[in-house]
Amino acid sequence: MSALPWELNTFEAMKRVTHFLFGLVLIAPWEIWAQLNLRVLYRSAPITLGKRLPFNSNDSIQLDQLKFYIGTKDEKVHFFDLEDSLTHTLILHQPEDSTLLFFGMDSLANTQGRLDGPFDPLLGMYWAWNTGYIQIKISGVLWTSIQSFPFEYHLGGYRHPYITHYQKMVSLHNRTVHLSLEGFLSALPIQGQPKIMMPGPRAWTLYQHFVSSFP
């Protein structure tokens, strides 16, 4: 039976402390290095949900929700929720100046029916009526000088030809990838089509704009 700490002699106690510290030295950098951070920016500043931001020349915009799937070679399907900082870190061993990221998920992942972890329908990304996963969910309000436009986009799809699954090499800065939303937000047809809730050509085109937002 292991001795309790106060029962150890000095030598044994020092040995254990040394082992512990040595373990920390080995593990801590590994834990840090095994991560990839994802930051969402708007005009070079971190974006906050529920905050009104300047948009175009005279308008303003507010995001109420931003969730999407993204992956690395070490974590193929990761659920990101801007509201939950615990989801802002992905697993990635041995990063360099750039790395391969996966956007969305393939048809197998969409249809395999795992329903756990990032596939849990509780996360609000499962299309129950049309099996598959929403790959990006974004909603908010656009204010122009005349009126406000609530918007909501659920983009996804895995059926040919409108497949929202891509991979792309992206640049890293200090183990961090920056997602700049200006281009994607500008591409959203908020005044003309404020809601897109199903797969198809419009969802597919907008999803490409989203992927383009990564450097």
Partner: protein, 339 residues
């Protein structure tokens, strides 16, 4: 030693027959049927899991105000269909736009719902649980209720070795029950197994069935699982374009999944919107091409079914041989609560 081998053989036969017995309620594979679509590796069926799923199926706790259970629209004696109304009603007496289909032989279904939008049985139950016209609840709310309930907590722990009930535990438990609903012992099945013979009228009806219906309602499941437009045309008030709402393709407009004909006698009303209440109306629809409204799938156009009154009766007589009383009355599928 010389008794060991016969004893071992006897034991093996006993175990095999015990495993596949339809009477115990668990899933079994009828002889001569195709391989199921359901991947049992994702959700191995156990007796405890089956009982848990059955308790959930009959428990109105799954609905937002604990008034509606799965069984409210899927009654065993009507082949787990809903016979009171053309389309089913849920919480707050809200009425949906589709006829609740019978539940049987789901292990062979590649997709679910009249439009085929749902690809797996494991995830199917999210739809009725969360649909505002059905159970109107949320997964969060259902999981909260279940996790607060000591009987369910104990049952889930027993089946899934978990202290916290999560979405996939709930859904897989329900699937363990619904995938076990196998109906394969109708008079038709007994005739096929040469345990009895059809009457002359039933045999004539069977011959007509093979000539006119089997292409879509294909034996032994009595569906080819394809999407067809059968000429009944759009419903006058319900806006439902069927398959095209899933695929986004105009060619799929008003096409719906070909339903199984097993237990058809008991699973009225008929069609995706329940517009026919009697089976003879359905037969008459198909037998009278002049009644068809566009669009009509090519199988029907080519066949140009034309039946006289005697033939319609014979076909009806055959369809009634698809009734499986043993399934409809199997006490293992009936109302159940956890002790």
């Amino acid at each position: 030693m010389k008794y060991l081998i016969p004893l071992w053989l006897l034991l093996s036969v006993f175990l095999v027959s015990w495993e596949v017995s339809p009477e115990d309620g668990l899933f079994y594979q009828p002889d001569g049927w195709p391989k199921p679509s359901y991947n049992f590796e994702t959700n191995p069926i156990s007796h405890e899991g089956f009982l848990l799923g059955k308790a959930l199926f009959y428990d109105p706790l799954l609905s937002k105000d604990s008034t509606v259970s799965c069984a409210s629209c899927h009654l065993q004696y009507t082949a787990f269909a809903h016979v009171d109304h053309p389309t089913s009603h849920g919480v707050d007496s809200r009425v949906g736009k589709r006829n609740a289909p019978g539940l049987m032989n789901l292990a062979w279904y590649p997709y679910f719902h009249w439009d085929g939008g749902v690809l797996g049985l494991n995830g199917q139950a999210i739809n009725p649980i969360t649909h505002p016209d059905e159970m109107g609840s949320t997964l969060e709310d259902v999981l909260k209720k279940l996790n607060r309930n000591p009987i369910y907590r104990k049952a889930f722990k027993n089946v899934f070795k978990t202290d916290e009930i999560k979405t996939y535990h709930l859904l897989k438990a329900l699937a363990q029950f619904t995938v076990s609903l196998v109906s394969a012992n109708s008079k038709y099945d007994q005739m096929k197994r040469k345990e009895l013979a059809f009457s002359d009228q039933e045999q004539r009806g069977y011959t007509l069935f093979l000539r006119h219906c089997n292409q879509c309602h294909t034996e032994p499941l009595f569906t080819n699982f394809k999407f067809k437009s059968n000429g009944i045309g759009p419903h006058p008030t319900l806006k439902d374009e069927g398959r095209s709402e899933i695929t986004g393709k105009g060619k799929d407009a008003y096409a719906f999944r070909v339903p199984t004909l097993r237990n058809i006698e008991h699973s009225f009303p008929y069609m995706h919107d329940g517009r026919f209440s009697k089976l003879k109306e359905v037969i008459h629809h198909y037998a009278t091409a002049s009644m068809w409204k566009l669009p009509v799938s090519p199988e029907l156009n080519k066949k140009n079914i034309s039946l006289n009154a005697d033939e319609e009766k014979a076909l009806l007589s055959f369809l009634k041989t698809l009734t499986d009383k043993g399934f409809l009355l199997n006490s293992n599928f009936g109302y159940f609560t956890l002790p």
